[in-house]
Symmetry: C2
């Protein structure tokens, strides 16, 4: 029996929803970050140099994002996001280092820019760190747009830095506070064809006041990556559960792990 | 009479010594940053898109730098510098923005890496911001070495990102707590040939316990840039004095402005 190979690179996004409750307490859960850091340290020990961590913003970044979106006068308002975004990268970096990982925070704004003729991606620092067996820690931030202004670059967009051939096969796993795209009654949509998003759009939602569009924006971003060849997975972030299956072929994931796979060739 | 043209790009480094007294109080002088930000805002209004600001670390970064240098076991210890370095970039960014400048902090570590076959410089984000008339705010940080470890990248080294032809003529001005290289008795060496550093080495000094080598390291870094064609100047940072002469040919600088010029063709 042939099994699909595992990924060469895993971009692991831990959603802000897992690290804080941006709708109620407004606090970042640093104990959750520490728990996840321990799980990621275990995974990284087995797969050094093959993981890029992307931290969601959560409670720290959410109110800043809302203020930026409400600003109608300052085309550079998004620069305000750099402060909470650095704080999140640093929180992960210190806790991963405490677990023995060579974690290194890097600012995406310096590595990705938009131009009228396309995007420019410059990831030499990330690639050199990966080759050295280290763990780059990325996050949301601002990005320079084709018009020369700034916009918010959501953590869901960050995996787009790694779609070049040399990173493939690429897997993107987004850990969230839900186990995938819900169909109602607690069931999870197992697989989504990224070319047929229209069929499931009724299942997505965007909470009022959300800075980045919640599941709607996440699925759009992941589907774009999937159309470009990445294997994208939404799963629930469980801070006490091992993450070792994240490098296994999807067919070998623990049966009790609900998730939504978004990939070309995936079907419901 | 022919006069040399002014620079296309000015890399303005404001030394940590101007912003704090790292040898006594250990405090960052945020009022000084605000004063300099006002002067830089005036200069930037006249020369938008032609200035890159590099902030020295000073009191915030100095003790972290010493701890990193003392560390004999962790090849990734320099990652600790990212926290105070971001704090310095952010202090400048907020104060420059308060003075109406589109200041944008960017992490040098993501734009510069060392390899066995040379360095890789990726400054697209900086260049796009300059073309948009904005002011990139850079600082010291870690850098990935050819060996795949990290080392401290001093703010004196940051101008090396801008030696490419498209940035020339390049001027680097380092504002310090002294008016240049002192010859004794308060006199300042007017000009230094970067190919003949040996002749003046007796005038340089390195204070014990300094993380970056003080004037010694600064002059070495500037001389390397000057040998590569940049026009480098050390001058005293005066928080209440206009900075408009920084784009003028050296012959047109105010006569009462002591400074040391380090450039090919400069002579004592």
């Amino acid at each position: 029996m042939r099994t699909a190979p595992g990924p060469r690179l895993l971009v692991l996004k831990v959603g802000g929803s897992v690290l804080s409750d941006k709708h109620t307490t407004g606090a970042t859960d640093y104990a959750a970050i520490d728990d996840f850091a321990a799980r990621i340290a275990d995974l990284h020990a087995e797969q050094p140099g093959r993981i890029v961590l992307v931290t969601g913003g959560g409670a720290l970044c959410h109110p800043v994002g809302l203020r930026i979106k409400a600003d109608r006068t300052d085309a550079y308002a998004a620069v305000a996001l750099t402060e909470p975004a650095f704080a999140m990268r640093w929180a992960w970096t210190t806790r991963l280092r405490a677990h023995g990982v060579r974690a290194v925070p890097l600012q995406v704004s310096a590595m990705y820019t938009e131009r009228p003729d396309g995007t420019v991606v410059q990831t030499e620092a990330v690639e050199r760190l990966l080759r050295a067996g280290a763990l780059p820690v990325l996050s949301s931030d601002f990005v320079v747009t084709a018009a020369g202004t700034l916009r918010i670059f959501s953590s869901d967009e960050v995996p787009a830095l790694f779609t070049a051939e040399r990173f493939r096969p690429l897997r993107v796993v987004a850990l969230s506070d839900v186990p995938g795209i819900l169909t109602g009654g607690g069931a999870v949509l197992t697989a989504v064809d990224p070319h047929r998003l229209d069929e499931i759009r009724g299942l997505l939602w965007s909470r009022p006041g959300d800075a980045t569009g919640a599941m709607d924006g996440k699925v759009e971003a992941l589907a774009a990556l999937a159309r470009d060849g990445a294997e994208c997975v939404i799963a629930r972030g469980e801070r006490t559960q091992p993450l070792r299956h994240l490098f296994a072929p999807m067919t070998e994931w623990p049966p009790a792990t609900p998730r939504t796979l978004i990939a070309v060739g995936a079907h419901r």
